[in-house]
C-alpha cells in the first residue's frame, strides 16, 4: 500500500516586492484622493444647492472675486509653471530633466482640471461660457484671450503628453511641440497678469510688471510641485526613486528652486516697499496686509526659510528638507495669490454708508471646500497617471 502522501512544496519565503509595494501605495493615494473628492465635492454641491452663489461670501459692495477665483488662478498658474519647466527643459535639451517630463506634463493637466472645475462652480452660467466666450470674438477683453489661450494650451499639452507617452522619443523630436506649449503657457500666464494689471483705478493691482511677476511666480510653483509630487509618487521614500531622478533632485533642481524663490522674493519685496510708501488711493491695503501675520508667514516661513534651506550645502540634498521646502513654497504662493486678488478689492470704490472702511471679507466654508475639491481632484488625476501611465519611466 502506497501510503506516500503527495509531496507538498514548502511555503515560499515571504518576498518583498518594492514595485508591488509602490503600486499599492499609489493605489492608496488614489483612493484617499477619490474619497476626499467625494466628501468635499458632495458637501460643496449641497451648499451650492441650498445657498446658491451666496455660499461664497462675496458681495456687491466691492468684493466680487473671492476665494474660488484665488484657487482657480493658483491652480492655473501652477499648471502653466509646470508646463514651462517641462517645455523649457525639452527646448534647451536638458537631458537630466528626462525623468520628470511625463510627470510634469501630466501634473500640469491635472492641476488645470482642478482649477477649471472650481471656476465652473463659481461662474453664474458655466455651460453658457463654453460657447458664449469663444464665439463672442470679444477681442478687447483680456478674459476672452485668456480663455482662448487656455483652450489651445490644453491642446498643446495633450499633444506633448501623447508624444511623451510613446515608447521612443528624444528631446530633439519633442522640441517643436514643446515650443508651442511653452509659448502658450507663457501667454496664459501673462494674460492672467493683464486681467489684473490693466485695472488702472486699482493701484494695488495695476502695474505693467504684473504679467512678468506672474510668469516667475508660475515657474516657482512649477518647480515646487515637481519636487513635492515626485516624492509623493514614490510615497516619500527616496530609496524607491530612480537614480537619475535623485541626481536631478540633488544637483540642478535645488539651485533652480532657490533661484526662483529669490526672484519671486524680489518682486514681493519690491511691491511691498513701493506699496507701503505709496499714497495713491487703494494702496492703503498694504498697511492692512503689513499688519497681518499672513504676510510674514508667506515671506519668512514660506519663502525665506526654504531659500536658506535650499542654499545651504548641508541641507539642500536632504529629501525631508526638499519636501518641506516645496510644501512651504506651495503654501506661500497660495497666500500670495490670496493677498493679491482679495487685497486689490478691499479698498471700497467710494466711501459711504454701505462701505465705511476696508471691505470685510472672510472666505466661506464652501470656499475652503472648493480648495479641497481642487486638491483632491488634481491628486486623483495625478495618482491615476502614476498608476496607469508610467509617469516615472524614462524611455528613449
Amino acid at each position: 500500500m502506497n501510503n506516500a502522501h503527495p509531496q507538498t512544496s514548502p511555503p515560499a519565503p515571504a518576498t518583498h516586492d518594492p514595485a508591488q509595494d509602490l503600486a499599492n501605495k499609489r493605489l492608496a493615494i488614489l483612493i484617499i484622493a477619490l474619497v476626499g473628492l467625494l466628501l468635499a465635492g458632495g458637501q460643496t454641491l449641497a451648499n451650492l444647492a441650498t445657498q446658491g452663489h451666496a455660499a461664497f461670501n462675496t458681495t456687491n459692495l466691492g468684493l466680487f472675486w473671492g476665494l474660488p477665483i484665488v484657487i482657480y488662478d493658483y491652480f492655473l498658474l501652477t499648471s502653466t509653471g509646470l508646463a514651462m519647466v517641462a517645455s523649457l527643459a525639452i527646448v534647451t535639451g536638458a537631458e537630466e530633466f528626462r525623468p520628470v517630463l511625463r510627470r510634469t506634463v501630466w501634473l500640469a493637466l491635472a492641476g488645470l482640471l482642478g482649477g477649471v472645475v472650481v471656476l465652473m462652480l463659481e461662474l453664474g452660467h458655466p455651460l453658457r461660457a463654453l460657447w458664449a466666450v469663444p464665439f463672442s470674438f470679444a477681442f478687447s477683453s483680456p478674459l476672452y484671450w485668456k480663455v482662448m489661450a487656455v483652450s489651445f494650451y490644453v491642446l498643446s499639452l495633450l499633444v506633448l503628453l501623447y508624444r511623451l507617452l510613446r515608447t521612443h522619443w528624444t528631446l530633439q523630436s519633442l522640441r517643436p511641440y514643446a515650443l508651442v506649449a511653452l509659448a502658450l503657457a507663457l501667454s496664459v500666464t501673462a494674460i492672467a497678469g493683464v486681467v489684473y494689471g490693466s485695472q488702472s483705478f486699482r493701484p494695488f493691482w495695476a502695474s505693467g510688471d504684473i504679467p512678468v511677476a506672474f510668469i516667475f511666480e508660475s515657474l516657482l510653483g512649477g518647480l515646487a510641485f515637481i519636487y513635492f509630487f515626485s516624492y509623493l509618487a514614490y510615497a516619500f521614500n527616496p530609496k524607491w526613486m530612480p537614480a537619475d531622478l535623485r541626481h536631478l533632485f540633488d544637483t540642478r533642481l535645488p539651485t533652480l528652486l532657490a533661484l526662483a524663490i529669490f526672484i519671486h522674493l524680489l518682486f514681493v519685496v519690491a511691491r511691498l516697499g513701493s506699496g507701503l510708501y505709496g499714497n495713491a488711493e487703494g494702496l492703503q491695503v498694504w498697511q492692512y496686509l503689513a499688519s497681518s501675520p499672513l504676510l510674514y508667514l508667506e515671506l519668512f516661513v514660506g519663502l525665506l526659510l526654504p531659500l536658506i534651506l535650499l542654499m545651504l550645502p548641508q541641507t539642500r540634498t536632504y529629501p525631508a528638507v526638499q519636501i518641506v521646502a516645496s510644501l512651504l513654497v506651495m503654501n506661500a504662493l497660495l497666500i500670495a495669490r490670496y493677498e493679491y486678488i482679495i487685497g486689490g478689492q478691499l479698498v471700497p470704490l467710494f466711501k459711504g454708508a454701505w462701505a465705511p472702511d476696508l471691505i470685510n471679507y472672510v472666505p466661506s466654508m464652501t470656499g475652503w471646500l472648493l480648495l479641497l475639491v481642487a486638491i483632491f481632484l488634481s491628486n486623483a488625476v495625478n495618482a491615476f497617471g502614476e498608476l496607469k501611465l508610467g509617469l516615472g519611466s524614462n524611455e528613449q
Binding site: 446658491g52 452663489h53 451666496a54 461670501n57 462675496t58 458681495t59 456687491n60 459692495l61 466691492g62 466680487f64 472675486w65 461662474l123 453664474g124 452660467h125 458655466p126 453658457r128 461660457a129 458664449a132 466666450v133 463672442s136 470674438f137 470679444a138 478687447s140 477683453s141 483680456p142 478674459l143 476672452y144 485668456k146 480663455v147 486681467v195 485695472q199 488702472s200 483705478f201 488711493e281 487703494g282 492703503q284 478689492q345 479698498v347 471700497p348 470704490l349 467710494f350 466711501k351 459711504g352 454708508a353 454701505w354 465705511p356 472702511d357 476696508l358
Partner: protein, 272 residues
C-alpha cells in the same frame, strides 16, 4: 442718433433718496441693492464734521471699461442713445465687469441679500427668474437687461431704456415738466423733488444738459479713468460735492484737525 446724458446738480440735491425709491419701484430692485444709490458719508473729524451725500447712478460711459472687459459681449454700448446695457442671455456671471467698473454700479444677482430676510424667498419665481414680486413693470427685455433678472447674471441701471428709447426723435431734453414728454423721462429724474436732475441729448449743443454743463462747469466722476461718463455733476461746493477720495483713510488725522482748531481759536482770541 442721440447720446443721452444726465446732469445732477449737487447744490440742489437734498439726499432725499426719492430717486432711489423711484428706481427701485420702476426696476424691481432689491432692498439695499440700488441701481441708483445715494451714498452717505462724513467729511472731517469731530467737532468739525459734515454729513455728506452723493447720488450715484450708472455713468453710461462713452468709453466703458465694463464693456471692453466683457468676454462674451454681454454688456454693450447701444449706438442708438449711448446706453450701456446688459444682455442677460449672453452673461456668464464672471463678474469681470463689476471688477472693472470704477463706479461700483453693477450687481451680481445671486449674492446674499444686503437686507435680511431675503425678500426673494417670499416671492419665489417659477420661470427661472430671481423672484416674482407682486408688482412688476410690464416691460421685459432680457437682451437689454430690462425686467426681473434671471439667476447667475450681472444687472445694472438701464437709464430707463424702456422709457427713454420711446421718446420722439430729435428731442433735445426729456423734462418731466413738459407734459407730452414726461412718460419718457427716467424714473430717478422724474421724481426728483428739488429738480436736481436733468436728462437730455449730449449731442445737441442747445440741449439744457449741455448748457448746464457749460455754464456751471459740469464735472465727470473719476474722469482720470478714461471712461468718459455721460453723467455730469454740478457743484458750487455749498452742500454735496463730488467726493475726491474714496476711503476713510484719507480723512485728516485727529491730531491734525486738533492743531487746526487750536490755530483758529488762537487767531480768534488775538483778534479779540
Amino acid at each position: 442718433m442721440a447720446k443721452w446724458g444726465m446732469v445732477i446738480d449737487l447744490d440742489k440735491c437734498t439726499g432725499c433718496q426719492a430717486c432711489t425709491t423711484a428706481c427701485t419701484m420702476e426696476n424691481n430692485r432689491l432692498p439695499g441693492e440700488h441701481w441708483q444709490d445715494v451714498l452717505f458719508y462724513h467729511e472731517g473729524t469731530y467737532p468739525n464734521v459734515k454729513l455728506m451725500w452723493f447720488p450715484r447712478p450708472c455713468m453710461h460711459c462713452e468709453n466703458p471699461s465694463c464693456v471692453s472687459v466683457c468676454p462674451t459681449k454681454a454688456t454693450y454700448k447701444d449706438p442708438n442713445g449711448g446706453f450701456v446695457l446688459m444682455d442677460y442671455n449672453r452673461c456668464i456671471g464672471c463678474k469681470y465687469c463689476q471688477v472693472a467698473c470704477p463706479y461700483g454700479v453693477r450687481f451680481y444677482v445671486d449674492e446674499k441679500a444686503v437686507v435680511q430676510p431675503d425678500i426673494r424667498g417670499a416671492f419665489p419665481s417659477d420661470d427661472g427668474r430671481q423672484w416674482d414680486p407682486p408688482y412688476k413693470g410690464p416691460q421685459d427685455d432680457p437682451s437689454r437687461g430690462i425686467g426681473i433678472q434671471p439667476h447667475g447674471v450681472v444687472s445694472k441701471c438701464t437709464f430707463c431704456y424702456h422709457k427713454v428709447s420711446k421718446a420722439p426723435e430729435g428731442v433735445a431734453d426729456l423734462d418731466e415738466d413738459i407734459p407730452e414728454l414726461k412718460e419718457y423721462v427716467p424714473a430717478c429724474v422724474r421724481v426728483c423733488p428739488p429738480k436736481a436732475r436733468f436728462f437730455g441729448d449730449l449731442d445737441q449743443p442747445e440741449s439744457r444738459v449741455n448748457r448746464l454743463i457749460a455754464d456751471q462747469r459740469g464735472v465727470r466722476l473719476k474722469d482720470e479713468t478714461g471712461n468718459k461718463p455721460q453723467v455730469y455733476y454740478l457743484s458750487g461746493g455749498a452742500s454735496a460735492s463730488v467726493p475726491s477720495l474714496r476711503s476713510m483713510a484719507a480723512a485728516p488725522a485727529p491730531e491734525d484737525a486738533a492743531d487746526t482748531i487750536n490755530e483758529i481759536s488762537d487767531t480768534a482770541s488775538r483778534s479779540a
